[in-house]
Symmetry: C2
Subunit: 215 residues, 2 copies
DNA sequence: CGTATACTTGATCGTTATCAAGGCCTGTGG
DNA sequence: CCACAGGCCTTGATAACGATCAAGTATACG
């Protein structure tokens, strides 16, 4: 019921879902680039730095974070394999990008990326679609933060991280929970304690099962 | 101090600030269009409808809202004069757009707008900038909802609605508060009671003055 | 084996939501 | 002109949810 509730009010986080299928074009821009590997916790780019590169995630999860003078931290989003970051049209990065666990990336110069997209009739709408997905995702976060409780938030995240099954969504899905509680909490606008408690409750009521930090 | 605090953690809501100066290009696309007037509370377009038009706000404030089956409502954003909506690259509108008070708009067909932007070297980066501002704005909301208290939220909104003074920001700025408490609350992720109380407190401690629903 | 890091759990407090009532303004009809 | 209804806003009392403070327990790492 918990999960059902979360689903019913979850208009989106479609982004990840829609990704795998239809974006060979943009992705192909990166295919010639060498794969770079970043270790757990390494910073890929910094908030406010000139946005020189655009990245495609090949493996692992990238966390975007904004840190404030008072130490509080917000995670506007995560990027999963097949997604891009550094793409948002602006001169500077909109947050710190950091590797959660090991991450493999391909990069393109920003100018090269923009010119390629700018020139190609086929890529332009595709890039627009990507931006649109980012907008929808941002809006979903707004909804999540504006009017969902801790349980709904955690469910949302778990569903977003769940491998996107095409049609049949059997009840038994295993989620590689490759992020720490701190990341969960920052992303969901909760404290680690609350995130932890909520996870415990979800396990307690049978909504999820733990298998060594997995569900 | 309240206000100062709010300002220090407010990385953005720059959008409105940056608007008035540098966007004659996109705006000029609309200049030939007739002005349409919508009355207080009228719906301009609906969530999920095919996005047939792009709008420029000429006067008044437009509210974008998402309503859920359980009646709860979220306001992802407001659009002020000089801003555009319906532009986000996607087939459908991302929310209900409604007039707060009287609103004057110009509209362009979506296809016309996209083609014009697509064709023109000068408009493309300008449109990208606009999308970027929307992203920054969305991110600012995320921060606001994730880790600000009621007082900071209300201050943020007031500052966002404050007429953007170029250089000198004298302490005495009058804000046309053309929206109801309900709108404030939905935008800020608060209840109307809390919004009202917070306004009362701000008046009480001298941060703002009331002049018949103005500050 | 010991330290560090991350996670869990408990107790308490504070902020905000919720429920409830009352005040103010506007417009309408007698 | 007054009475009344309906919004919208304010204020109060109470309660719930999550933050905070504080141990305590796993797990990883050198």
């Amino acid at each position: 019921m918990l999960v059902a509730n979360a689903v019913s009010r979850l208009p989106s986080r479609i982004p990840a879902a829609a990704n795998d299928q239809a974006r060979p074009g943009l992705s192909s821009l990166f295919s010639r680039q060498p794969v770079e590997t970043f270790g757990r916790g390494e910073t890929i780019c910094r908030d406010g730095d000139p946005a020189l590169h655009v990245f495609e995630v090949a493996a692992g999860i990238v966390r975007v974070a904004k840190v404030f003078s008072d130490g509080s931290r917000v995670i506007p989003g995560f990027f999963q394999p097949g997604e891009f970051f550094g793409t948002s049209p602006g001169e500077r990065y909109l947050g710190d990008a950091e590797a959660i666990g090991e991450v493999k990336l391909r990069r393109l110069s920003r100018n090269g990326f923009r010119q390629a997209v700018d020139r190609c009739e086929r890529l332009r709408p595709e890039f627009a679609d990507w931006l649109c997905r980012e907008m929808v995702s941002a809006q979903a976060r707004t909804v999540l933060l504006a009017c969902k409780n801790a349980e709904e938030r955690v469910c949302d995240l778990l569903l977003a991280l769940a491998p996107q099954v095409g049609g049949a969504d059997g009840p038994a899905r295993a989620i590689e929970l490759s992020m720490s509680r701190v990341n969960m909490a920052d992303y969901l606008g909760l404290t680690i304690e609350t995130a932890s408690r909520t996870m415990t409750n979800l396990i307690g009521c049978g909504a999820i099962r733990s298998a060594g930090w997995r569900s």
